[in-house]
Point group: C2
Chain length 282, copies 2
Amino acid sequence: MENRMVYLNGAIVPLEQAAISPLDIGLLRGYAVFDLLRTAGGRPFLLAEHLRRLRSSAEVLDLKVPVDDDAIAAAIDELLALNDHGEESVVRLVVTGGVSPDGMAFDPEQPTFLILTHDFHEPPAELYATGGILLTEEHHREAPEAKTTNYLTMLRNKPRTAAVGALDVLYHVGGRVSEAASASFYIVRDGVIHAPADRVLWGTVGSLVLDRASDTRSVVREGFTLEDVASADEAFLTSTTRGVMPIVRVDDVAIGDGAVGPVTHELMAHYAAAVAQAAGRS
Amino acid sequence: MENRMVYLNGAIVPLEQAAISPLDIGLLRGYAVFDLLRTAGGRPFLLAEHLRRLRSSAEVLDLKVPVDDDAIAAAIDELLALNDHGEESVVRLVVTGGVSPDGMAFDPEQPTFLILTHDFHEPPAELYATGGILLTEEHHREAPEAKTTNYLTMLRNKPRTAAVGALDVLYHVGGRVSEAASASFYIVRDGVIHAPADRVLWGTVGSLVLDRASDTRSVVREGFTLEDVASADEAFLTSTTRGVMPIVRVDDVAIGDGAVGPVTHELMAHYAAAVAQAAGRS
């Protein structure tokens, strides 16, 4: 979009005037964390959860989010009012270690804090009806409990995923599954939802829908393998921009009967209800 | 230094006017490679080798260095003439995937290409006499054949290495050694130099000194383990800013008799001769 406004270190300025220093350690050494939230009814959705996760990610890297939650919420509101992204938007918050004159040392008390807004492109509705594909990749993210800006392995896999219309890569080490590059990943077996044990990013959407399903569904958090995925009844991913997305194939293996299963449908309904509620449409 | 000039996408401008977009994929997704060279006698040292490695790193990530070697050499000469870093300088070349409006897609034909100069801080002379320390860390770099900007694991280890005065972290997976975070690493046993087998960054200094030593020393490139390191006669690292640096301790294990060994001394002499020759002092 034209004339986009962004927040940079306390000021809201036009994008072209928001200058990141060539000496920023987020650029020179990839030392940065971020978070991404969507709006519901034009208002930030799960804002408190995303801000808590941003601060937690920053802490893992010994970085600091330099302003309080109220100031961040006010900056987001102002950006959303200034930028016209249509009905819903995506908001990106980025924290780096700041400017590093020698390209190595930096002062965590002087971070770079950036807030950007983007158009929100929801996946096509038919994908939720038919389910998506993931391709596996042996990899474990560095600092997995933090949402760092390192997407090297994901972006290098883009041609491979694009070639078969896959949504994302599914990371594993020696067959032990952790998460997708840009989403949490779960399987369902005999009506029970299986989640990764640890060393993955805490998921805002996954947490929301599992919480809403907790009256009727049990969740086992002991992790699982690619073999478990292959023999699962259902699989799904959760993410900010995709909500609850059924996964019906991983590499060449169909999950269950290859159709979207009942537990995934339940969770999709929980997510839709939460969004509608937040948007004031329920 | 004040009034530093930098090269950004074809123009040489003051640092404060060199604006990296907040939408640069090098910042938002860490999708970038770089190289670092030193001067010898004020002139770029091993320039051809560093430019070859930069292009090779870019290729691994499907990125493009947008100008030819002559143009890069001219830009470096101009920056070195404008910026006063003292007798010797360090030159950093950075290539990112460029501006990404949605924070994910980018056009490799429109990269960001940045050249920065820094002061050159050589390690203290006594460190070459006594030798340095490395601390081990289980990790293998993503896209290890490329010099990417991802230094997450290295920077997160800074407090730990600083606490014991270690020079760097030494990466291994299951005891199999690859490289240090910012240097190549070799061991010596019975007069033979042992190098990693593959999946490490090609080292400009390592290559130079091993080539100069090839008349008298043999090199085995089959890799080695932490056990091999513990029982080695000598160990050393090579890097642009440290040249050939003896390593006399890895974690709590003394290498050989804990003093700088004869093969390392030979290679240090080769490196010093190469620098002196390039500087016109030989």
